[in-house]
């Protein structure tokens, strides 16, 4: 059998990738650049991003990462608005809807878990204000 064996360096796109939230911030910048180009926008003035409390993304760390990375990108002058959505769950046993502050939260009524996540796992770009 022939042995294929080589290394691929991914450093060019992992330059700032020392933390999970940094790679996500890079995704946001790339997505914004693509969408702005599609509508011939010259600048993005505001970007609204929704980060659910159950999305696995630390909103504060993500905001700081984005702050550091926007320089020289189309988001350089943009106001970054991060909306945090609280986690919501529905108990599979008693159907109670309750606020989940983490994925493993048990139903406050019957202590059952895991519950069905019914909101708060969003991680998306809601809108761009461009010109």
């Amino acid at each position: 059998m022939s042995i294929h064996y080589q290394a691929i360096s991914c450093r060019e796109f992992a330059k700032f990738d020392f933390m999970h939230e940094f790679s996500l911030a890079i995704e946001v910048i790339n997505l914004s650049q693509r969408e702005a180009a599609k509508s011939n926008a010259r600048e993005i003035q505001e970007i609204t991003i929704e980060v659910g409390d159950l999305s696995g993304v630390e909103a504060d760390a993500f905001g700081s990462a984005l702050d550091l990375l926007v320089k020289d990108s189309i988001l350089n002058h943009a106001n970054v608005k991060i909306i945090r959505t609280p986690g919501k769950g529905i108990c599979k046993a008693c159907n109670l809807e309750f606020e989940m502050n983490h994925r493993m939260a048990a139903c406050p009524q019957c202590r059952c878990f895991p519950s069905q996540i019914n909101g708060g796992d969003e991680f998306r770009v809601v809108s761009l204000l461009v010109e």
Partner: protein, 274 residues
């Protein structure tokens, strides 16, 4: 282009009314210090430098996207998945903490199955070619991806690896992810199934501490069973915790070192391609 701040002065690109409404009830704002109101003719400060220039009328518009930030990764992962399915390749994404024995499991698996199955491996590590060298010695083609400072593999890296790895039809492709129970959970690579490895030298509460990873995996290999007599690891408790976050999870207790339980793993692999 204004050379001081980079903002454009050309015809259609004008007033930005950046008088944003700030609602602090449930929003977090990360305002940049470049923000300012633009008047038709004005002086303003960018990064400490005052200058004047003119801005005409603005043509602002809102683009409503509601777009998943990982949509690009997910799209590439779907392309990888289609590529692999087209070749009837069973692709398994192995995830775990560092040191759980993923590479040792792969070495044993390759040695046992290479006479009867075609196997290829994509190795993900921050640095070094060491793991790919180990895989190579056990007889399977391997590609090493060094993520540099990156903490996980993503679909784009797998796409480039697939371009280099001449994967044969009906083979098993193992992707050994970067040792990390956090970030790899969020990145679909296009795998058929995800296998999480935990070793008995770790705490049995790992499934509760890292629920995302255990929720997104279909099989849990509990490795280093040969060390069970020497450590306080409660296997039943681990299974109970993992089932509490993922009721459909399957478990196989193995020792890559002694070979114990490895037959069950090989049987599981055979079942996936039936």
């Amino acid at each position: 282009m204004c050379e001081t701040c980079g903002c454009s002065e050309s015809g259609e690109f004008k007033i930005h009314d950046l008088q944003h409404k700030h609602d602090h009830d449930d929003h977090h704002h990360y305002d940049h210090d470049q923000h300012h109101d633009h008047q038709p003719e004005h002086a303003h400060e960018h990064n400490g430098v005052w200058h004047t220039h003119s801005h005409d009328q603005t043509q602002q518009k809102v683009i409503n996207l509601n777009m998943n930030i990982l949509s690009n990764n997910n799209r590439l992962a779907q392309l990888n998945r289609r590529f692999l399915e087209g070749r009837k390749v069973l692709c398994l994404n192995l995830v775990s903490s560092p040191g759980s024995g993923k590479t040792s499991i792969l070495e044993k698996t390759i040695q046992a199955l290479i006479p009867i199955r075609k196997i290829a491996v994509i190795e993900g590590d921050q640095q070094t070619l060491l793991d790919a060298e180990r895989i190579e010695k056990s007889g399977a083609p391997a590609i090493q991806i060094n993520t540099g400072s990156g903490c996980h593999l993503d679909a784009r890296m797998i796409e480039s690896a697939l371009e280099k790895l001449e994967i044969e039809a009906n083979s098993i492709l193992f992707i050994e992810n970067v040792g990390n129970l956090v970030c790899p959970a969020m990145f679909d690579l296009g795998e058929t199934k995800r296998v999480v490895v935990i070793s008995v030298t770790e705490g049995e509460d790992k499934p509760l501490k890292y629920p995302y990873m255990f929720q997104s995996s279909q099989l849990c290999l509990i490795n280093k069973s040969d060390l069970l007599p020497y450590v306080d690891f409660n296997t039943e408790k681990t299974i109970e915790y993992a089932r509490s976050v993922n009721p459909n999870m399957e478990f196989i207790i193995v020792s890559a070192k002694t070979g114990e339980g490895m037959d069950l793993w090989y049987e599981w692999l055979a079942r996936q391609t039936k």
